[in-house]
C-alpha cells in the first residue's frame, strides 16, 4: 500500500504564519474579553485581531496552495490533510453535541423537574408553585417575557430545502470536477455559494422577526438560550462554509484542482455536508418537534 505514498517524505520549511496567527488570536480573544466587560476600544482591537487572523489565513493557505499546485505534495501528505480535516469535523460535531445535550437535558429533565416531576417536587412546591412545565418555556419566572416561536414550516423549512439543495449542487460540482468539466464545476459551485448566502440572509431575517415581532430573544429563558445558541453557532458555520466555498470557486476559476487531486475542494465539501447534517438535527429538534 505504502509503495507510492512513502517514496518521498515531505517536510515543510519553517514558517512565520502560526506565530502571526497566535498574535491575532490572542488579540481577538483578549479584546473579546474586554468587550464583554464593556470596554469601548475593545471592538476595534478585536477587529484588528480578526484582520491579523485573516491575513494569516491568506498567507498560510496561499503558501500551501502554491506548494500543492506545484506538485510538491505526494499522496501521503494528501492523506494527512484528509485525516486532519475529518478529525477537525469530528471535534466540531462534539461542540454541537454539547449544545444539543443542553437542549435535551432541559427538555427531558430540567423543565419537567421544575414543574414538580420526579426529583423536582420540592423545588416546584416551595419556589414555583403552579409553574406549568410545557415546552417551549422561558422558565418559571418567564424571563424575557412572553414570546412566540418561529413556526417550523415557514422560513426554517425553506432553509432546509435550500441547504439540502446546496448539498446536491456541491456534489454535482464534485462530479463535474472529476470529469474535468470546468464550466459546470464553477457553475455548480457558484450556485452552492449563492444558496449558502441566501440561507444566511433568511436566517438573519428570521432573527429580526423573532426579536421584533415574536418577542423571542436570547434572554427568553432556556428556550431562547438553546434556540439562539444552536441556530447562531450553526449560522456562523454556514457563513464560514459559504466563504470557504467562495474561495474554492475563485480557485476553480483560476484553474486550480485536478480531476484526480483536489483535496481543498473535498475538505470544504465535507464541511458543507457537516453543516447540512447539523441543520437537519436543528430543524427536527429545535423547530419541528
Amino acid at each position: 500500500m505504502a509503495q507510492h505514498a512513502n517514496d518521498s517524505y515531505y517536510v515543510p520549511h519553517s514558517t512565520k504564519w502560526p506565530i502571526i496567527g497566535s498574535v491575532g488570536m490572542a488579540l481577538m480573544m483578549g479584546s473579546a474579553a474586554y468587550w464583554v466587560n464593556e470596554s469601548s476600544v475593545a471592538p476595534w482591537t478585536f477587529l484588528a485581531g480578526a484582520l491579523v487572523l485573516i491575513y494569516m489565513m491568506f498567507g498560510w493557505f496561499g503558501e500551501v496552495i502554491r506548494e500543492s499546485e506545484s506538485g510538491m505534495y505526494n499522496s501521503q501528505v494528501d492523506t494527512s490533510f484528509r485525516m486532519g480535516m475529518l478529525w477537525f469535523i469530528a471535534s466540531e460535531v462534539m461542540f454541537f453535541a454539547a449544545f444539543f445535550g443542553a437542549l435535551f437535558y432541559a427538555r427531558v429533565l430540567a423543565v419537567p423537574w421544575l414543574g414538580g416531576e420526579g426529583a423536582g417536587a420540592f423545588t416546584n412546591e416551595i419556589l414555583w408553585q403552579g409553574y406549568d412545565a410545557v415546552w417551549p418555556t422561558a422558565g418559571p419566572e418567564d424571563l424575557g417575557g412572553p414570546f412566540a416561536v418561529v413556526p417550523a414550516f415557514g422560513v426554517p423549512f425553506v432553509n432546509t430545502l435550500i441547504l439540502l439543495t446546496s448539498g446536491l449542487t456541491v456534489t454535482l460540482a464534485h462530479h463535474a470536477l472529476k470529469k474535468d468539466d470546468r464550466t459546470k464545476l464553477i457553475g455548480w459551485l457558484l450556485a452552492t455559494v449563492a444558496l449558502g448566502f441566501i440561507f444566511v440572509a433568511l436566517q438573519i431575517e428570521e432573527y429580526i422577526v423573532a426579536y421584533q415581532h415574536l418577542g423571542l430573544t436570547l434572554g427568553s429563558g432556556i428556550y431562547g438560550s438553546t434556540f439562539f445558541m444552536l441556530t447562531g453557532f450553526h449560522g456562523m458555520h454556514v457563513s464560514l462554509g459559504a466563504i470557504m466555498l467562495a474561495v474554492i470557486a475563485i480557485r476553480a476559476m483560476r484553474g486550480h484542482f485536478k480531476p484526480e487531486h483536489h483535496f481543498g475542494f473535498e475538505a470544504v465539501a465535507w464541511y458543507w455536508h457537516f453543516v447540512d447534517v447539523v441543520w437537519l438535527g436543528l430543524f427536527i429538534f429545535v423547530y419541528v418537534y
Binding site: 502560526p18 473579546a32 461542540f95 453535541a97 429533565l109 422561558a138 418559571p140 424575557g144 432556556i222 439562539f228
Partner: protein, 543 residues
C-alpha cells in the same frame, strides 16, 4: 517491501538540512521541527509546573496552621483555582504533548509529525493563553476563584476576570485539538512500512487513544464555558432555574469532559511506564495486546462514568447505581495493567536506574490513588467523602506520583537520547528519593484529614486537623524544593555533562528510537527504517 526514500524539503534533494533552521529566537518561533516543538512544549510545561507549584506552596503555607495566617480567603480561593488550571492545562497536558512530539516520530519511523506547521501553531497558542489566564490575578476582580470546575452559580459571580478565563480556556482547547489531530494523523499515516498497529510501542498506542479522547471532549468543555459566558454576559439561562435551566446541567457537561480529561493525563503515563519497565527488567512487556485492549477499554468507559463526581448533587437511584458500577468496572482493565507491569518485572534481571525507580514508584503509588478512587466510586459512602481532603488526596495520588512521576521517569529515560549526554545518576536518584518520600508525607495524611471530615477548598480549619496539616505542609515544602534538583539535573545534562550517551543508552532498551544516534539527528528518518524483530519494542508478540 523495500523502498528507497528521500526526505524532501522544497526540492527533492536533501543536501542542505540546515537551510530551514534559522538561529536564535526565530528558530523557535518559526520551527516546524518535531524535536524543537517538543522541547518548547517541555520547557513551557516545566515553567508552568513551577508557577502552579508556587501557588500550591502558598496554599500549603496558609494551611500550615489553623487560623488565617498569610492570605485573604478570596486570594486563597484564587490560588486553588489557578493552581489546578495551570497544573492540568499548563503543566501536565503540554508535557505529554512535548513527549509525543519528541518520541512519536522516532518510535514509528516517521520523518516528523504529519502536519508540522500546525504543530508549531498548537504550541505557540499556549504562551498567549496562559499569559491571559495569569493576567487575571492582576485585575481588580482578582483571578477566578470558584475552583477549576467553574461550577455556576458561584463561577458566574466572579467579576471582570471571568471572561478572560473563558477565552483562555478556548485557546487551550484549540491548541489541544490541533495537537491531537496531529498526533492521530502522524500515527495513522506516517508509520514506517512494517510498523503495523500491533507492533507500535505502547506509548504510541496510549497517545493515539488519548488524542481521540481530547478531540471528543475538549469541544464539550468549550461548549460548557461558552454557556457560562453567555449566561454571565448575554442573559441566557442555561444554568439558571428561573429561566428553565439548571445549574446541575453544567456539572453534567463539565464532567462529561472532566472524567475523560483525567485519562488524558494518565494514559500517556501508562504508555511511558510500559516502555520503561521492560527495559530495566530486561524482559519484553508482559501481555502487550492485553495492554492495548485495556487502554482502549478504559478510554471507552471514561465516557460513561462522569456522574460519579455528582453523587451528592442528587440523582435517581438507578443513575447512582449505573455510574457506580460503570466506574468500578474501570478497575478491571486498570488491574490488568498493574498486573502486567508487575508480571513484566517478575523474574526479570532488574536494575534500578532513576527512570525505573520513578516507574516502580508510579506503579505502587498510582495504585494507591486508584484504590482510593474505588472507594469514592461507592455512591453511598461518597456522600461522606465528597468534597473532603480524601478527594484531594485521591486525585493528587493519581496526578503527582501518577502523571508527574511518569513524566519524570520519561524525562530521565529519554534525556540521553535527546541531549546525547548522560544525566547525573547520583543526583537523579537523590531527586527520586526525596520526591518519593516527601510526596507521601504531603498527601498520605490528607486521607485521614478527609475521612475525619476536613473539607477541601478552605483556607482555615478546626484545630483537630492541625497536626496532619502541618505534616502535610512540611512534605509539600520538601517536595516543592526537591523539584529544583530536577531542574539542576536537566541543566547539567544539557550544558555540562561530559559523559556521552551511546545510541542504545540502556542495556535492555528496545525499539526504533534506540537505533538512532544520541542525540537524535535534527531530522529523524531520512529513509523509512527496516522494521524487524530487533527493532520493535515488543518483539515477543506474535504478529
Amino acid at each position: 517491501m523495500s523502498m528507497e526514500t528521500t526526505l524532501s524539503h522544497d526540492t527533492p534533494a536533501h543536501d542542505d538540512h540546515h537551510h530551514d533552521k534559522p538561529r536564535g529566537l526565530a528558530r523557535w518561533l518559526y520551527t516546524t521541527n518535531h524535536k524543537d516543538i517538543g522541547t518548547l512544549y517541555l520547557v513551557f510545561s516545566l515553567l508552568m509546573f513551577f508557577i502552579g507549584g508556587s501557588m500550591a506552596m502558598i496554599i500549603r503555607a496558609e494551611l500550615f496552621m489553623p487560623g488565617l495566617q498569610l492570605v485573604e480567603p478570596e486570594f486563597f480561593n484564587q490560588m486553588t483555582t489557578m493552581h489546578a488550571l495551570i497544573m492540568v492545562f499548563g503543566a501536565v497536558m503540554p508535557a505529554w504533548v512535548g513527549f509525543a512530539n519528541w518520541m512519536l516520530p522516532m518510535m514509528i519511523g516517521a520523518p516528523d509529525m504529519a502536519l508540522p506547521r500546525m504543530n508549531n501553531w498548537s504550541f505557540w497558542i499556549l504562551p498567549f493563553a496562559f499569559t491571559m489566564l495569569l493576567s487575571t490575578l492582576f485585575m481588580d476582580s482578582g483571578g477566578p476563584a470558584a475552583g477549576w470546575t467553574l461550577y455556576p452559580p458561584l463561577s458566574l459571580q466572579g467579576g471582570q476576570s471571568f471572561a478572560f478565563v473563558v477565552f483562555a480556556v478556548h485557546m487551550m482547547g484549540i491548541s489541544s485539538i490541533m495537537g491531537s489531530i496531529n498526533v492521530i494523523a502522524t500515527i495513522l499515516n506516517l508509520r514506517a512500512p512494517g510498523m503495523t498497529l500491533l507492533r507500535m510501542p505502547l506509548f504510541v498506542w496510549t497517545w493515539l487513544i488519548t488524542a481521540f479522547l481530547l478531540i471528543m471532549v475538549m469541544p464539550v468543555l468549550a461548549g460548557a464555558v461558552t454557556m457560562l459566558l453567555t449566561d454571565h454576559f448575554f442573559g441566557t439561562s442555561f444554568f439558571n432555574a428561573a429561566g428553565g435551566g439548571d445549574p446541575v446541567m453544567f456539572q453534567h457537561i463539565f464532567w462529561f469532559f472532566g472524567h475523560p480529561e483525567v485519562y488524558i493525563m494518565i494514559l500517556p503515563a501508562f504508555g511511558v511506564v510500559s516502555e520503561i519497565i521492560p527495559t530495566f527488567a530486561r524482559k519484553p512487556l508482559f501481555g502487550y495486546s492485553a495492554m492495548v485492549y485495556a487502554t482502549a477499554s478504559i478510554a471507552f468507559l471514561s465516557f460513561i462514568v462522569w456522574a460519579h463526581h455528582m453523587f451528592t448533587v442528587g440523582m435517581p437511584l438507578t443513575g447512582a447505581l449505573f455510574f457506580m458500577y460503570a466506574t468500578m468496572l474501570i478497575a478491571v482493565p486498570t488491574g490488568v495493567k498493574v498486573f502486567n507491569w508487575v508480571s513484566t518485572m517478575w523474574k526479570g534481571s532488574m536494575t534500578f536506574e532513576t527512570p525505573m525507580l520513578f516507574a516502580i514508584a508510579f506503579v505502587v503509588l498510582f495504585t494507591i490513588g486508584g484504590l482510593s478512587g474505588l472507594m469514592l466510586a461507592i455512591a453511598s459512602v461518597d456522600l461522606q467523602y465528597h468534597d473532603t481532603y480524601f478527594v484531594v488526596a485521591h486525585f493528587h495520588y493519581v496526578l503527582v506520583p501518577g502523571s508527574v512521576f511518569a513524566l519524570m521517569a520519561g524525562a530521565y529515560y529519554w534525556l540521553p537520547k535527546w541531549t546525547g549526554h548522560m544525566y547525573s545518576e547520583t543526583w537523579g536518584k537523590i531527586h527520586f528519593w526525596v520526591s518519593a518520600i516527601s510526596v507521601n508525607i504531603l498527601f498520605f495524611p490528607q486521607h485521614y484529614l478527609g475521612l475525619a471530615g476536613m473539607p477541601r477548598r478552605i483556607p482555615d480549619y478546626s484545630t483537630q486537623f492541625a497536626d496532619f496539616n502541618m505534616i502535610s505542609s512540611i512534605g509539600g515544602f520538601i517536595f516543592g524544593a526537591s523539584q529544583l534538583i530536577f531542574v539542576g539535573v536537566i541543566v547539567h545534562c544539557v550544558y555540562k555533562s561530559r559523559q556521552k550517551a551511546t545510541a542504545q543508552v540502556w542495556e535492555g532498551a528496545k525499539g526504533l528510537e534506540w537505533t538512532l544516534p544520541s542525540p537524535a539527528p535534527y531530522h529523524t528518518f531520512d529513509t523509512p527504517p527496516v522494521i524487524d524483530e530487533t527493532t520493535i519494542a515488543h518483539a515477543h508478540s506474535r504478529h
